[in-house]
Symmetry: C2
Subunit: 584 residues, 2 copies
């Protein structure tokens, strides 16, 4: 019986921390040995972490990466297990590569052939593309190797490998999360497997790295495109499955698509290199598709986004060496949600909430902030900004004489709050989490160096309407209102002038978010958006706000990407930009 | 006599401002007609401005760009002149393209073949690469078209064009400035011309766009590689030269390298497309290499950097719709230089200097700041921060109880100053220029939201040692000390605590800048730097400071790039980054 026990090591590496990543890899190898796994696959660039960005241009970094690889090779000496490990190969040029390692030997190296250079990806900046599909033969089973983007083209190295005899395709990946990504990924891999009549094993990393969160959800699809194993979302795990290869070839007899000369001739049949490895035959194992740890259910959509945020916060804080965070609590929905996420990520003892009232703060705001802090069990401090605000007004009064109060006085208050949080950060080493949402970021409805001051912008990619949904969902999960009910019900206000409401400056959030989704995320032309029945003046106003506030976003802290198009490396718009689409 | 009068229209476009760019192009066409120019070449992507970045992903932007091109075509109706204009072609996909336009017709389109995707360039993100070299024949002279990067490879489309008969290569370019770039560029083009036995006409844009400054310096080299015409640095101009083509072919008879079959067979001789254009023969013109406006002398090295900074400031301020700027004057060298640059860029009436003394400010600082303002003839304001600082200390005192004064109290002062400048900006619409230099940016010796608060960081890419040189040079140019002598002589201090000196925290600037140049710009491994004889502890300390302050730089305002490797789009390092090279 031609059978392979495959393991997918869904790990959370740290960019540039070779020791940490090696330790992680060794412990998964040890765990896999205990489970008698034949082939253990690690994610793309798991040795360096992903994306290492311009660290790749430092010779010492490349050298240290190769040293780490050789420690892995050493570690496998005498062990009957084959590893596929993502690393940076240095061979005349640098390559995004997969090492095939077994029993103290580097059996082969595959170079990624398709380099993504769009959205958040810049791989053409760093790597030379490979040009050689690679097969390994293990226990008489031919396995084709691919890396991430290689599988996002209908005709890529996997097809060449299959035409050259592969009965299983392995794809090692570092695929960042956005809403809907898991579904898309599984659907696509399912059809790739169906088209190639070949099972596909996909291993992804987990964890946060700056703006990116990797969701894991490694999986295996069979030759029909059915999911036969799936790992957890956002958690490290070892996915295990037994694949019986009699079935693959039997299936191909009945479904002869791969036989068609017309199809085979579409594929550039570069003689795929074949490496034979003795994996230690004759072990007895479970029967067909012995789903060692089964098919984990994916998270619900809101749970998934929430968990992405929790993961992003936890990893940004921890991987950057911080223990505690501080958050300005306004009594509003945004800071309430951010504090809740922070507690879920770091524990209540590591979160400090600071309420900073001004002359415009309502008593309700203070009550709501305090109640939230009590509900979360976090430290709560009150630091009034009024004396500082008055001192600013005094020193500025000779300069502001004859002017009406405007955004200048409003921003001073926001900036005092920013300074106070930063002073606490500087004094106690706490990281400041900012609380601005995507709707605000899009419109520039935020104060640079004020509420935008901080190390990490937790909900920067969450539109206001989704902020409400997440808060409601979290309360429901808890079975009580950790985020006070009134916070969810009162109209949003920045409280920087008397009776201020967000709707003084912005369209209602349901309309705003609809326009933003179309203009920013879907990149629709303005006249197209208007033709869908939206108020032209509103659409144009929103578009102009987005265009004009790029300078603020340029100085915003990084934040967690959960949408298909986040502000940040995803959307690279010049600050100096006179383009105004559809001037009316 | 086969003779061509060529014009290089070295213009300063604005990204996204099609009307402005069209107006500029029309006026240069009109000027060129008056001078009986046959062929007028505009820079790469001059119609959109460069780099348009993700505007290229907006369908409406592409559509408006094509509309603008058709206005140019229309404009040439009845005019006997051939234009080469950089634009974005949309044809199944998008291309970085050159339009050949004459007499109301689009005669042909060339697509850039080599797309740069390193340093500050991201063209693989946007464009499909072209695959067809293009020749035009004008007055019986065959001319090969190339775009920027195409010429930075020893074998590119130009060689194919020459092998197919080109006697002149045109290169339209958008090549950003850095120190030494002009020399490198002219040397390289000289050798390209020498290798191909073919004159090359190179047109570059001028002006600032966010972090980039384009230096112009368009030029023509003859078939020997000698410069026969050069335009100004950092100024718009029309470079004109007459080229006599009898000479080119005569030269090739004597130097038969292009005849060698071995060399010709190295070139992929894709049949280069040929477009014949009737340019209106028989005009009488001057004799061989009639250098219409001659060879402009390049600027001296310091003058060149200074002019890059002036250009960068002027264009950032003006293109973003600002009239006046405000600068915090500390009485130190950095803010003095920035104010001087601002005055040279915008005029003294558009620059406001604000001195913001604290309890730690010396009387010398105030005297120096005021003297500078007087020398420059700018408005000078004094806004003491002491009452605000005291108010902060008061509200924070219950929280800081039992702690020693540290960087928290220091940063509060810097942030008050940032807030005051931003308040003036918000009240009066002035842009805040920040004054931090590259040495500080590199080491994180700057306060986020404090002295880093502002719209544009003028000397962000100027190391401290170069700051001194530029200040001295500017004083010498003026023939008197506009920047007071004492400013140049006193030891640098942030004045945020008693008797503070920069050297309390940093190595002496001459050593610091040397290490930074090697570690950041030259990307040398740490052990290599140490092996050059530098103190290992100093080198390691500097490298650690650079590595650890990436989070600050991520939130810094954009600033002018003048070095081969500036902080910004040039150097994309993760914030979350545990890599520490050579931990001792």
């Amino acid at each position: 019986m031609r059978l392979l026990r495959i393991g997918l090591a869904q790990i959370n590496p740290i960019v540039g921390d070779f020791d940490h990543n090696l330790g992680k890899i060794f412990s998964f190898v040890t765990g896999a040995k205990e489970k008698e796994i034949d082939l253990l696959c690690f994610p793309e660039l798991c040795l360096t972490g992903y994306p290492p960005e311009d660290l790749l241009l430092r010779p010492a970094f490349l050298r240290d990466g190769l040293k780490a690889l050789y420690k892995i090779i050493e570690f496998t000496k005498g062990k009957r297990i084959v590893l596929i490990v993502g690393f940076v190969d240095v061979n005349v040029d640098i390559f995004n590569a997969a090492a095939i390692v077994s029993d103290g030997e580097l059996k082969g190296v595959y170079h990624k052939m398709y380099l993504p250079n769009y959205g958040v990806f810049d791989e053409e900046r760093y790597f030379r593309a490979g040009d050689a599909p690679l097969l390994i033969e293990l226990n008489g089973i031919k396995i084709g190797i691919t890396i991430c983007e290689d599988m996002w083209y209908p005709i890529g190295p996997a097809v060449t490998e299959v035409v050259n005899g592969a009965e299983l395709i392995v794809n090692i990946s570092a695929s960042p999360y956005h809403m809907g990504k898991r579904e898309l990924r599984e659907k696509m891999f399912s059809i790739r497997a169906f088209d190639m009549l070949t099972p596909v094993a996909y291993v992804n990393m987990v964890g946060g790295q700056d703006e990116l969160v990797f969701d894991g959800y490694s999986f295996i699809v069979d030759e029909n495109g059915e999911i036969i194993a799936r790992g957890d979302g956002f958690e490290e795990c070892l996915v295990i499955a037994d694949i019986l290869f009699g079935d693959v070839s039997r299936h191909r007899l009945r479904d002869p698509r791969l036989r068609k000369e017309k199809f085979r001739s579409m594929v550039k049949q570069a003689e795929a290199k074949l490496i034979c490895i003795d994996g230690g035959k004759g072990k007895k194992k479970g029967s067909f598709y012995f789903k060692q740890n089964g098919i984990k259910n994916p998270l619900s959509p809101l749970e998934e986004v929430y968990k992405a945020l929790v993961t992003g916060v936890r990893d940004y804080v921890r991987k950057n060496g911080f223990k505690k965070v501080v958050i300005g609590l306004s009594g509003g929905i945004d800071s309430s949600l951010v504090a809740t996420i922070a507690v879920d990520a770091l524990g209540a003892q590591n979160v400090v909430g600071v309420f900073m009232p001004s002359r415009f703060s309502s008593t309700e705001s203070k009550e709501d902030a305090e109640k939230l802090a009590t509900n979360l069990g976090i430290e709560f401090r009150v630091i009034p900004i009024e004396p500082v605000f008055q001192a600013y007004l005094d020193v500025l009064s000779p300069h502001f004489v004859g002017t009406e109060p405007n955004v200048a006085e409003e921003n001073i208050q926001a900036r005092i709050r920013g300074n106070i949080l930063m002073a606490l950060s500087n004094k106690f080493g706490w990281l400041v989490l900012t609380t601005g949402n995507k709707s605000e970021m899009a419109c520039g409805y935020a104060t640079l160096y004020g509420d935008m001051a901080g190390g990490f912008a937790v909900i920067k990619d969450i539109p206001k309407t989704l902020v409400y949904k997440l808060a409601l969902w979290r309360n429901e999960l808890e079975g009580r209102d950790i985020i006070p009910k009134r916070v969810l019900e009162k109209p949003p206000s920045a409280e920087l002038r008397p009776n201020q409401k967000d709707t003084d400056s912005l369209p209602p959030y349901d309309i705003l978010d609809e326009v933003l989704k179309m203009y920013v995320e879907e990149n629709l032309p303005i006249d197209h958006i208007i033709s869908l029945g939206l108020d032209p003046m509103v659409v144009l106003k929103v578009a102009r706000m987005v265009d004009k506030s790029e300078y603020k976003r340029r100085q915003a802290p990084p934040g967690i990407r959960v949408s298909k198009l986040a502000f940040g490396r995803d959307r690279r718009v010049p600050v100096t930009n006179s383009y105004r689409e559809n001037d009316l």
